[in-house]
Every structure is written in C-alpha cells, then in structure tokens.
C-alpha cells in the first residue's frame, strides 16, 4: 500500500507540474506596459513555490513507502516528540520566503494602484450595466457632461443609456461608444462606474482588472503597448447575462484614434 501511495502521489505531482512548466494553458501574451513586470512576478512566484510543492509531495510519498509497517527500514517507530531546532528553522525560512515574495511585488502594485494617471492620459469613462459596457470620451473640452439617473433609457442604448443631460454644455461634445478605442503607447485613464450591480472590467492581455461599483467612480490606468483587438469580459457575477457581458477593446495608432474620435464627433453634430 505504501508503494502504491508513493507511485500515485509522485505521478500526480509530476503530471501536474508538467502542465505548468510546459505552459499548455497559460496567460495570453501581454500587451500593456505593466504586463512584463506582472509576468515576471508570476515566474518568480512559480520558481519559489513550485519546488516547495514538489518537495513536500515527493517527501510525503517517500515517507509513506519507506516507513510502512513491515518494510525494510521500519523496525520500530522512533519515540520522539519533535525537534525545537527544526521548528525554528522552518518557521524562519517560511517567513523569509513568504514575506520576501510579497515585498518583491510591492513596487509593481504601487505603480499600478497608488499613483494616479499622469496628465495627458486619454480619459475614458467605462460604465457597466446589466449586461453591456458603454465607453464615454469627454470630447475636445476635456470635460464629461452631466448624467442623471432619471434620464436613463437603457433600451435606447448609447447616450440615452447613460442618462446624458443634453442641457449641460459639457455634454455637447461627449462621445459614447459601444466599443472601447484607445491609442497605443499612451496611458489610458479609466473611470469605472456601474449603474445597477457590481461588474468587473477585465482584459487579460492588459493584465488589467477592476470592479465597477455602483455609487463609486474608480480611477485606474493602464498603457497598451501593442495594437490589436482584445476582448473585455465581465469578471464579477452580475446576473443572468454575466457570461455574455462582453466588449471589445481596440488599440490603434494615435492617428487612427484621432480620426475615429473626430468621425464620432462629426456624427454627433
């Protein structure tokens, strides 16, 4: 029985580890400025934790077989209540491992979340509602117009869905889109809102995720460094249509972005 345990535990460990090392299923290629740092920290964490996992499982299987009753190396069990030196040793080692790993990632988190977007970032207001995303740009005046809940008409979509108040001068040049378009290599400041329940804005390639919470306007930022189309998925359970609350993020060149925004402005006039 000890041998079977050893074989099964070792096999499970090796097969599990293989799929992590071979990266059959893995993070998509990063496309934002933060991706390299985050991916590096993933690697560091796997390098630190992986051997602990393998060593503990291999030891478990090995001991089960080696110290089985009736086995060659088992005459009688050792009468020992433990070893204080060992206890101190592995406590200190684990503290260093866990706290050290944490400290290593501190600066990435700080640059992502402590600092606000730099001046000159492209501002996009992202609003989640059951079960769609809307993206609003402030237009040439750089100001978002007023929205009023009582003006909302969800079925009409676009500006009406956000309840944009046409009487506010600042809202005259606001552009509301069903697709998120941003220029490459420029910081994007996202202002996250939700109308009804909590949603979460997640783009795996940008290594970017943040909940959109009703009642809050959450300011976040990321910098796309690769043009292309990326899928936005909702990452917080928001109701029966959660699985299809889906959007598109288009990262384009600055010229294309300017052209697109100008065209939307023109449409509006």
């Amino acid at each position: 029985m000890g041998l079977v345990l050893l074989i099964i535990i070792w096999l499970i460990t090796l097969v599990s580890t293989y799929f992590f090392v071979a990266k059959w299923w893995w993070l998509p290629v990063g496309a934002s400025a933060a991706a390299a740092g985050i991916d590096h920290h993933f690697t560091v964490s796997f390098i630190l934790m992986g051997p602990v996992f393998v060593a503990a499982q291999l030891a478990l299987g090995w001991f089960a077989w080696k110290y089985r009753e009736g086995g060659t190396s088992s005459k009688g069990a050792e009468y020992s209540h433990g070893n204080a030196t060992l206890e101190v040793l592995w406590t200190v080692l684990t503290v260093f491992l866990f706290v050290g790993m944490n400290l290593m990632s501190r600066s990435i988190w700080a640059s992502e979340r402590f600092d606000s977007a730099k001046p000159g970032a492209v501002q996009v207001e992202v609003t989640g509602m059951q079960f769609a995303w809307y993206f609003r740009y402030p237009g040439p005046d750089g100001k978002f117009g007023l929205t009023k809940p009582e003006l909302e008409d969800a079925s009409a979509g676009g500006e009406a869905a956000l309840g944009l108040d046409a009487k506010d001068p600042a809202s005259k040049d606001d552009v509301v889109s069903g697709v998120m378009v941003v220029p490459v290599n420029r910081e994007v400041e996202v202002i996250l809102r939700a109308h009804d329940v909590i949603h979460s804005f997640f783009v795996p390639q940008m290594r970017f995720k943040q909940d959109a919470v009703p009642g809050l306007a959450i300011h976040m930022h990321f910098t796309p460094i690769q043009t292309g189309e990326y899928e936005i998925a909702c990452a917080e359970l928001c109701g029966l249509g959660h699985y299809k609350m889906h959007g598109i993020l288009k990262v384009v060149s600055q010229e294309e972005f300017d052209k697109w925004l100008a065209a939307r402005e023109a449409e509006k006039q």
Partner: protein, 574 residues
C-alpha cells in the same frame, strides 16, 4: 461541576432519538444532516458540470438549464456545502460526539442548548431548500451574495422570495452556530476530567475549541449583516445599496455602500475557511500519530500554529477584495497578513511529515484519507501565496484558479477530514467495523478523482477562464478552453459516482459490519477506554483520570506500543 450536568438516560423513541439531550445522538443528527446536505450539494454540482459541457441538454424532471438556473445551482451548491456540510459535519457532528468523551466529560455543558442548536440548524436547511420551490426559484447572486445584486428584487430571477429565504436560512444557521460555539467553549474550559490539562488535550479537542471561538466571533457578524440585508430588501433601508437604476428604473435606494457588505461578509467569510479546515487539521494530526505509531511531531508547535491561524484568520479578510475598489494601501497590509498565515500552515505541514518520518505506518482507510488530506492541503495551500499577492490577483481574481484553490484547501481537504473521521470513529459510534476493501477503493477513486477535477482548473484560470460563467460561448479565449471543461466534467462524473461506494459501505456496515472491539486502532485517547458504543453518560459513572499526554506511542519499555491517557503515568521523556 460535572454532577450538575448529569441527566437520566431518556426512555422512549422521541426523547432518545429526536429531541435528544445526549451529545452523541446530537452529533449523529448533525452528521446525518450533513450527509443529506452533501449529497444535495453534490447533485447540484453534477447538474452544473453537465450544463457546462452540454449547455442545451434537456434533463429529465429538470428541463433545460437556463443561464439563471445555472447561477441558482452554483449559489445553492456553495451555500449548502459551506454551511451545512463543511461547518456542520466536522464541528457539529464529530465535535459534538467526541469532544466530551475525549476530555472525559459525561455530556456537553448545556445539553438543552445543544439540542436547540441542532434543531435551529435543521430549520435553516429546510428554509434554504424551500428557495428551490418558490416563484422565481433559488437566488442567483452566488454564495457570497454581493450587494446590490443580492439586495434588489429586480436584479434578476431568484432575487425575489428565493433570495429572502436564502438570507433567512443563513441567519437561522448563524443562531444555531452561535449556540453551538458557546457550548463547545464552555465544555472545553469547564468539563475536563481530572488530569486533562490543556496541554494534554488531543489536537482534535484543540481544533474544535479554536473553531468554536472563531465561530463565536464570526457568525455574529454574518448574522447582523444578514439582518441588514433583509432590511434593505424588504424595509426600504439602504445599508448596502447606493443610488442605483436597474434597466434604467430608479430603485428608491440611495447612500448605501456595496463594499460594506463585502467587508462584513468576508469578516465572517475568511474565518469560515478555518472553521471548515481546523477540525480536519486536528483530526489528521491525530490519525497520522495513531497510524504511524509515533508521538505527534511538535505537539506544542501544532497548538500554537492553530492558535495563530485562528488569530490571523480575522485580519486577512481584505484579500478577497483587492479588486473591489477599496483603498490599494489596505491591500498591501492585507497581503502581508495573508502571507503571514501561510507560516503556521507550513509549520503544520512540516510537522505532519515529521510525524510520518521514522514511523511504522499502518495503512488503514482512516490513515489513507489522512495522508490524502496532507497531499491535498499542500496542493491547495501552495496556490494561496499566488492569490495573496494583489499584483497577481489583478489577473487571477475571479478566474478558475481561485475555484481550484478554495475547493482543494477548504472543500476537498475538509471532506477528506470528514471521510477520515468517519472511517476512524465508525467502530466507536456503531460498534461495527466498516468494510475495508470498499473503503480503500473509495479512497483511491476519490483521491485521484479530486486531483483530476481540480488540478486542471488551475490551468483554466491561468488562461483567464472566468468563474460563474454559465456558458463559454460568448468569449473567444474562454471558448478555446472547452476541452479542459470536458475533462473536468468527466472526472467529476466518475468521482461523484464513486461516492455511492461510501454511502453503501456506511449503511451496509451498520447492519452487517464485523463487530468492533473497544479499541480497534490501538489508540490512546479516552474514547477508546469506554464501551462501544459508549453508554449514555459515556463512562458508566466512572469518570476517567488522565495521567498522560494524548500521543504516547512506541514508548520505550512500555508493555504495548501505546500508553492510554488514563494509564498510570509514564516516566517523563528525557
């Protein structure tokens, strides 16, 4: 003290088996409640696994599973499993049955409270199940019930009466759990037999004791949060709901905070993880020592580790909320504390390995499940430091990586504790042995099955596969992961089927099992000194006196390879 608690053995079926004051009967009641609940919860997961790979399949009696049905299934699966299985069986079931016997007491400190706490829990379960049968069905807001989704009747089907029943059930459960916790704490502190000092208590008793303290502090918070949520839903208050519109319609709420619900919920929710796992830790420590015929490695370190897990467990709730919009500065503090809680967990693992080392291991079925527990605990634990770091959580939050993590460490590991406890204590509870070949078959299928189900979920999450998605058809990168889902579902079907081996063995052995001796495992703790099954007052009026620690195995010079706790005192070691 103890004489005051003695009560006559009851006559008649109702006082003996239904409204019993005997902690052993109440323990069995809790156990069978959890057994019923686990099969309901497992059936719900079966339906989910079917739906995930055949979204349009029509099931007999159930019809087609719609997206909202799927969400109801996962809400009820989580709620049933966390509350009525993982909290009910290890603590209410085995804790109730064996804590008094292991400390040499005739019963719990408050037998009537004990009876009330069971029947309250039972009522909670009935109220929860009722949610399936009301208009709109069971709620779809997930077991975490994040507001405003859980607070607004108009937020989706199931958010009407179903959601009211759900939150009422949890509130009722909290009341039962609070009564139980009080009883466990008082019993442990006041009812120990002569010589049973705190540091001679079996680690199982320590685990139940610490779990009870966690329960006392955590369930009160959840109870209050639940009442506030009920008021938001029905009395027009706005604790958790700001000004929101659903489908463009104003709801009348304003000024509340959705994050407040998350703080209150996880202040309970994180200690709850330890409420589920601590009893399994205590039990597996016990079993590794018994079946290795070796004292537990580092008894004191084990006690201090459990105490620090319990203490730190109350300071880490924010790690569920890194992406919630709370201050990023607090995320850093919660992260450090969470990594800190990994330290006592690692100490326990090292001590378990240290116990096996140079032992003389007997592979009876309880031991197989205890070794399986260690393996699963390591695997589930190793993903913890990934999720504890906010930087990695940006990517991993709400993916299947999280599902894999908490199912392994909180779900499967605890369930392995429950299985180990069942196989270990069944002889004492029913006077019969369970069938060993069937038990071993059950172990192998469940152990390999659990890995086959939950290991691929890590990969699914690494590829950004999101949880709580009823279908993967709408997002291209998730659709690509469908082969993994198929593999997981097939593994789940086989593992679920093999649980009927356990069910059969359990009931068959009650009637047809081999007769058990009083101490079939040659263990040292007090439950093995008394008759099988134990009499009404546990020790037939002869209260034991304790002279030894709980893990005196292979003592040099002793006549047998184990020294009972009530045997004459052995020479102090070195």
């Amino acid at each position: 003290m103890q004489a005051a608690h003695a009560h006559e053995a009851p006559q008649g079926f109702i006082r003996k088996w239904i409204f019993s004051l005997d902690h052993k009967v109440i323990g069995l009641q809790y156990y069978f409640l959890a057994l019923a609940a686990v099969f309901v919860g497992m059936f719900l997961s079966l339906l989910m696994r079917i739906h995930l790979i055949w979204p349009t399949a029509t099931l007999p009696f159930f019809g087609e599973i719609k997206p909202e049905t799927y969400l109801s299934l996962l809400t009820m699966h989580g709620t049933i499993m966390v509350f009525f299985v993982l909290t009910t069986a290890p603590q209410g079931g085995f804790g109730n049955y064996f804590l008094p016997i292991q400390i040499g007491a005739p019963d719990m400190a408050f037998p009537v409270l004990n009876m009330l706490s069971f029947w309250t829990t039972f009522l909670g379960f009935i109220v929860l199940l009722a949610a399936f049968f009301v208009t709109g069905g069971a709620p779809l807001h997930g077991w975490t019930g994040y507001a405003p989704l859980s607070a607004l009747q108009s937020a989706g089907p199931g958010e009407g009466l179903g959601a009211d029943l759900w939150i009422t059930s949890i509130a009722i459960f909290c009341i039962g759990a609070l009564m139980g916790a009080l009883n466990f704490i008082t019993t442990t502190l006041d009812m120990r037999a002569k010589g049973m000092t705190m540091m001679r208590m079996p680690l199982t008793v320590w685990a139940w004791f610490i779990t009870a303290i966690l329960g006392l502090l955590a369930f009160g918070v959840l109870l209050s949060a639940g009442i506030l949520l009920l008021m938001d839903r029905n009395l027009g208050t706005s604790f958790f709901v700001p000004l929101v519109t659903v489908n463009g319609q104003l709801t009348g709420h304003k000024g509340g905070s959705p994050l407040l619900w998350q703080h209150l919920f996880w202040f309970f929710g994180h200690p709850e993880v330890y409420i589920a796992i601590l009893p399994a830790m205590g039990l597996c420590s016990q079993l590794l020592s018994v079946f290795s015929r070796k004292p537990i490695f580092g008894y004191k370190a084990m006690v201090y580790a459990m105490l620090s897990i319990g203490f730190l467990g109350f300071m880490v709730w924010g790690h569920h909320m890194f992406m919630s919009g709370m201050s990023p500065y607090t995320a850093f503090a919660f992260s450090i504390m969470t990594m800190g809680i990994g330290v006592p967990s690692a100490i326990k693992t090292f001590n378990w390995l240290g116990t096996l080392w140079r032992g003389r291991i007997r592979f009876h079925s309880p031991m197989l499940f205890a070794i399986g527990f260690v393996s699963l605990f390591v695997t589930g634990g190793i993903s913890g430091p990934f999720l504890a770091q906010p930087v990695l959580d940006i990517y991993l939050h709400e993916t299947y990586f999280v599902i894999a993590h908490f199912h392994l460490i909180m779900g499967v590991a605890s369930i392995f504790g429950i299985f180990a406890a069942t196989y270990y204590w069944f002889p004492k509870m029913f006077g019969k042995m369970m069938n060993e070949p069937l038990a071993k078959l059950h172990f192998w299928l469940t152990f390999i099955g659990a890995y086959a189900i939950f290991m691929p979920m890590h990969y699914y999450g690494m590829a950004a596969g999101l949880r709580r998605y009823s279908q993967s058809t709408e997002v291209a990168y998730i659709l690509k992961l469908l082969p993994l889902q198929r593999f997981i579902s097939i593994a789940a079907f086989i593992t679920i089927a093999s649980q009927f081996i356990f069910l059969f063995n359990l009931f068959w052995s009650m009637w047809k099992g081999k007769k058990a001796s009083d101490n079939p495992w040659e263990a040292t703790t007090l439950e093995w000194t008394t008759a099988t099954p134990p009499p009404h007052d546990n020790f037939s009026g002869k209260t034991p006196v304790v002279h030894n620690g709980p893990y005196e195995y292979s003592v040099p010079g002793a006549p047998r390879d184990f020294v009972m706790q009530s045997d004459p005192e052995i020479e102090p070691a070195h």
